[in-house]
Symmetry: D2
């Protein structure tokens, strides 16, 4: 019963197999392998973006921080939500990589509205040398609370950014989960919705460690390459990154895997939703669930070995019926029986 | 006939197998996996350093730059040779990670002498607020020209550093190649020789992408952890780093592999040394050879598909007997027949 | 009728005279002049801190950013209020100088409470490598809304910081205004209240451009010297900084000047307070007033040439009786007749 | 007998008077004063550059580091000589302000040749992601050894830079001394010679502390403004900078002062040149002299209270006739009698 994170789960067998297959003899280093050229062509076709620049790194934080550093100037501020991964979970990697950009927090949770974004940008004092200058907008899809921006919402937010002349970055650590939930195309969820750069996640959806950074305006490509190298994120044996991403996109593995994770999430949500004592903190739309359960239920679950983030506490002492919040993440690999067992124990 | 680099070769089967084996079900993220604890204990025993702090990253540049950033202050200068990887091949990753440290180049090639180091440090103006302050000394073992520092040389250099109160970093991208060439213990080549921090390479010796950073003074550990995280070099699925390093050190794979690479280097050096037109630019002591061959020999080798760094040129035009310099690197996986074929073609 | 800022006013004649007097023949550069030694001794006596380290810079932002960079690590977050000068008015100088520290905003206005500070620090995840680590607390005295922390409030806030092992910085751009308002000693408002480092302002209180940075723990001194030099804030003709600060502190000029500014503030507050249409946004406690006046009053004042920050608008159109917020700052040099004229016009 | 530095001397009376005159009542802050507009117009006319952007800072290091940070990217290297002030005397301010640029040292002393510059740039590996990318060229005029680049030399060097697409910065801490020595116009020594940005010194030639940064391409202006502000180098009471620079340029004070300093230098050089034991280390062309004198002469001079940089030693012990190198700088204010006395004592 492991719902700790989708980075706790295993990689797909196809990913492991692709790594083994890539391990044949000598190969050019640093991204010059043929597989990278093929991958680049594949991803451009997938995104209907023949000129896009495509780069691979091994961690989602690297993808986010390097993409934002390429889009932002050090004296600018980046717009994101208070719960954004770049604000809460990256130990100031964006501040480090940008050379001291600020993050301006928009809204109060995991999603921002166009109005709130417009107010924040308008308040920033563009052209006033004393204050942080407006910089890129960074949106997360799936959000950190497991929710989605609709295509219309993305369009409206990028419209605000464009009206202020600002680029938009999409943190797509769970890009595939969002895509299959929305049922749209990669192009529709990105450049057709006004997105300029994407962190396209693989790690959380069954890879070992690979993320693509995509710029739809290829002018950023060379700067990104230099930033990646001096950040030590350019792999010499790069073939093992392109092999992962190639296998991830082959035969729709990425979509199949995301559908599995989302289906697990839906099953878990349905089961929990039927419990009278369970209250959702955000509408479950992909593979993450934020909800409360009474302390007694948490105690039973922990006793049974369930793993997940308990966001309040203490677990051990307090009223049995006090609701305590939790985060549950469904990896693609979790088994239905585990989900059902979790629900059963939660039910008591 | 690929002598381009030891990062062009494949990984060992045991490394691939270890990755596959590590891919079993759920595992704690970010280095909390049991395999990391076991690895830490193993490496401490190996280095006879029970208190050492051990950290894994995926690239050699990350190991070097993060280790140096932990040892140096932004207003200090790092002492290295003009040919040091940190000076020539990392696109200023050390300057980036340290926040603007300078590199002071000691000597004229790939090795520094204690006298030259002492002069450089003494000239630096310690305590003069207008100039760069003395900072860490960074030595490379095997050097970038394929040579070795003897234990006495290491001791003498670290003695100079210690006399000035400066720490010593060892860039050990080819640590194993140096160790088997010297026939000493890991402790003897590091802390017993006055080394404070080591970039312990795995990638160039048969791993996919893993390097350990070792601090013999564990006070640096927490700062390094924070620096690694905000640099986006902390892997969520860290188990695939510890699995590689675990397999690398198991059953002496690292030593066997390095002995193979060095033996290939010796075979190649012996063959080339017998050619009247071949002149070594540095004494071959491990798996890298710097030498000249006449243009005609290079033309024959290129026509036959040999891959290596030609450090002069042009290849196509000029006197047939003009000596042109080259770098040849022997991967652990290169076959003797390839070496012999290379020598045969070079001979004409 | 200039209430724009206390950096719009002139310097005292004594400051100009001191500069002229310091301009006699040759003098050692970079702070080695005798006047700096004398100043250092004077300030140590003034603060009853014989070991304090004292440094001069020319701008308040330099004092703040360099002091904070000395106290903070790049992976830490600095606690301040949303209205803090370091957050709103320095174009991210703290982020730049610290190498990417974050600012965590405590409270909702210009003052923080011990409870809010404690909650913010406790929430920060000390020891969790994924998040910003707790760093220095920065308080502003006089605050950006013209209010004061009492000595008890300072003590309580520094107590919270100390309980978490964090240092406290005081942005004293208007240090003298606060001191005379509280009627306490420099020591009482700083180290006796738990403050570790002070930006001690001179510029806003009648100097040309000079601020002192004071560390009560002299261990920070050498690092600060190096940070100041590489930031290009060490003056070669430093005698013109020490001359200003020397004259500022001589004959209680700094206190006399601050008393004058505060008395002007009180006169203005009294006059405005008597107007039925004026509403204070913060209790005036020093030389700054935040209040509203009806649009019609602002229109009259602007027509008459009054200068001050109108923080809303538009001035020209809208209901005549709509209250619009303003900031009024009383320089030491403003004349009572100007104040009275302002009140008269505001009254209509 | 003070030849320590031209930053040890006093300011002109006109500079002091201008500061006093600027101290009249209220004035807009942060460079919005009328005097700055007038100065901007004056300097544009002086440089025959109607579109140039003009900015003031208080220190030469700030001028250099901020100008270079505006011209360079963090992954680039700046070309300068080993003796350049930016390399030797600024505690890595350029590395700090650029965010980690490297300095590539061209030549062996205080001047670079076009050939050496071309070789250095050509060797840099433009387009190779592993190495520092070519960035701006920084020339110093007067050089750190008191020599000059002729206009032809400047032209040839900037031609090399232009051929590689690189901008050229001129460190003109002693701009006026060079200008009067060459007898050319400001335009001839700058943009007509291919210079893109200038640090135009005032401090060393009789100001208190003011330097102008000039960009002939005004596109850099806004970025520079932001960099200056976040570096804390934007003065609130900016009128005291524009007053200094205004007085410096009025009535040819800057040229008169530089001519005086150079004449002092020539008188000193002539006197020393007549001594059989004095040997020049560089041809004296402005107000700085690098030469050797026997130890006994230094001993006499020190006993008589002469102040200057003795670049070797020890002074006290060793052969009386051993030549020891020194640097002598003639301030505009030094008196001929002091020069003659120095020569007399040196003569013995």
């Amino acid at each position: 019963m492991n719902f700790a994170s989708d980075n706790s789960g295993p990689a797909h067998e196809q990913i492991i197999a692709a790594i083994a297959a890539a391990n044949a003899g000598f190969s050019p280093s640093y991204g010059a392998e043929d597989a990278m050229s093929e991958l680049r062509a594949h991803m451009r076709a997938l995104f209907e973006a023949p000129a896009a620049s495509i780069h691979l790194v091994a961690t989602g934080t690297a993808a986010n921080a390097l993409a934002l550093a390429t889009l932002a100037q050090p004296w600018q501020t980046i717009y994101c939500t208070p719960l954004a991964h770049i604000n809460c979970d990256e130990c100031q990697a964006p501040e480090f990589y940008t050379g001291g950009s600020k993050l301006t927090l928009v809204g109060t949770d995991d999603k921002m509205t166009p109005d709130a974004l417009d107010r924040a940008i308008s308040a920033a004092g563009h052209g006033n040398v004393h204050v942080a200058q407006p910089g890129p907008v960074s949106l997360t899809q799936v959000t950190e609370m497991g929710r989605l921006y609709t295509l219309d919402e993305l369009q409206a937010l990028s419209g605000v950014a464009a009206a202020h002349g600002l680029p938009v970055h999409l943190d797509g650590a769970r890009f595939a989960n969002a895509l299959v939930a929305l049922g749209c195309s990669p192009a529709e969820m990105t450049w057709k919705a006004g997105i300029d750069a994407v962190s396209f996640g693989g790690t959380k959806n069954g890879c070992i460690g690979v993320e693509a950074v995509i710029f739809f305006n290829p002018e950023a490509a060379w700067e990104f390459e230099l930033r990646r190298k001096r950040a030590a994120h350019l792999f010499s044996k790069h073939r093992f990154l392109s092999a992962q991403m190639g296998a991830y996109l082959a035969d729709d593995l990425w979509l199949t895997s995301a559908r599995a994770a989302n289906a697990h999430g839906a099953r878990l949500a349905q089961g929990l939703g039927a419990l009278p004592d369970c209250h959702f903190l955000a509408e479950p739309q992909a593979n993450m669930i934020f909800a409360t359960l009474p302390r007694a239920a948490h105690q039973r679950l922990h006793a049974a070995g369930a793993r997940y983030h308990l966001n309040g506490g203490p677990l051990e002492t307090g009223p049995e019926d006090e609701p305590l919040p939790m985060r549950l993440v469904c990896d693609w690999s979790i088994e239905d029986s585990e989900i059902d067992r979790f629900i059963g124990i939660a039910q008591g």
